[in-house]
């Protein structure tokens, strides 16, 4: 894997990772507000 591919994979992983972390936060808030 050359350097370009490493950056491409990293960019994709960062995109998914940040969305997953934020979604987890939103899901916790949603569940708390339902109670």
């Amino acid at each position: 894997m050359d350097m370009g591919h490493t950056h491409l994979v990293a960019a994709y992983a960062v995109t998914i990772g940040i969305h997953v972390v934020y979604f987890a936060y939103v899901a916790v808030k949603y569940r708390a507000a339902k109670k």
Partner: protein, 242 residues
């Protein structure tokens, strides 16, 4: 509503999966940059999401300021949506900054440069982080009004970010869409742009809708509690007078 949300989520995941397939395996690599240019298909939807949700935040802040003393129910809804849209806007802005930095390292050889586009975008992110911190840590009846005013002033940076590559000479490339003659990408690459744009905006709407519901319920409970306390106090006062 629950069924609609489930259908929306399934459709979003399907569009995102197709977007990934088209971006990674279908559209051709860039003739100069090669495969690393495919970051573009995640970079652009992040900015589109940021622009959409900060615009919603602005609209909700204006509505809140206009109706806060006349229509409490609408003000509550507008304020809740303002919070939800600011949060997801900050998420998109952060992703845009990080993916841009990774792309810059591969193509320019540097992670960051203080040019007008990158700097104004970082300032924009910091403004909205400050907006969320204000909402998180400030208390009292004026907090929502202050936050709405801050959101309006914060949004002034959005057109500056958008126009920065047109007004100043920047390390960041000239606009790909809506730029001068000769700008744009090869039509064979456009499907990857459309699929990812649709997928990531659908995802943003889904997450923002969940966040809106939780924020609305929390604020409504807080408001109901405050009204109940006020009612009790008035009751005690009238009892003491009687």
């Amino acid at each position: 509503m629950k069924a609609l949300r489930a259908v929306w989520l399934l459709a979003t995941l399907a569009v995102l999966a197709e977007g990934f397939r088209v971006a990674m395996f279908v559209v051709p690599p860039d003739s100069q940059q090669g495969d690393v240019q495919r970051i573009f298909y995640y970079h652009i939807p992040s900015w589109a999401g940021m622009g959409l949700f900060f615009a919603i935040n602005l609209a909700c802040s204006l509505i809140y300021l206009a109706v806060r003393n006349k229509n409490h129910s609408l003000a509550l809804k507008a304020d809740s949506l303002a919070v939800a849209s600011a949060e997801i806007g900050v998420v998109y802005c952060l992703i845009g900054l990080v993916t841009g930095s990774l792309w810059g390292r591969a193509v320019w050889g540097i992670w960051w440069t203080w040019d007008a586009r990158l700097t104004s975008t970082l300032v924009l992110w910091l403004i909205y982080v400050a907006y969320l911190l204000l909402r998180r840590f400030a208390a009292g009846p004026q907090m929502r009004t202050l936050a709405a005013v801050m959101a309006i002033f914060g949004y002034l940076d959005v057109p500056l970010v958008y126009m920065s590559t047109r007004w100043w000479r920047t390390q960041h490339p000239a606009p790909v869409f809506g730029g001068s003659t000769g700008s744009g990408i090869d039509p064979s690459m456009m499907p990857a742009v459309w699929w990812n744009l649709a997928g990531w905006l659908m995802w943003g709407i889904f997450v923002a809708s969940l966040r809106y519901v939780s924020e609305y319920r929390a604020q409504k409970a807080e408001q109901d509690e405050a009204l109940r306390m006020l009612d009790m106090q008035q009751h005690e006062l009238s009892g003491a007078r009687g």
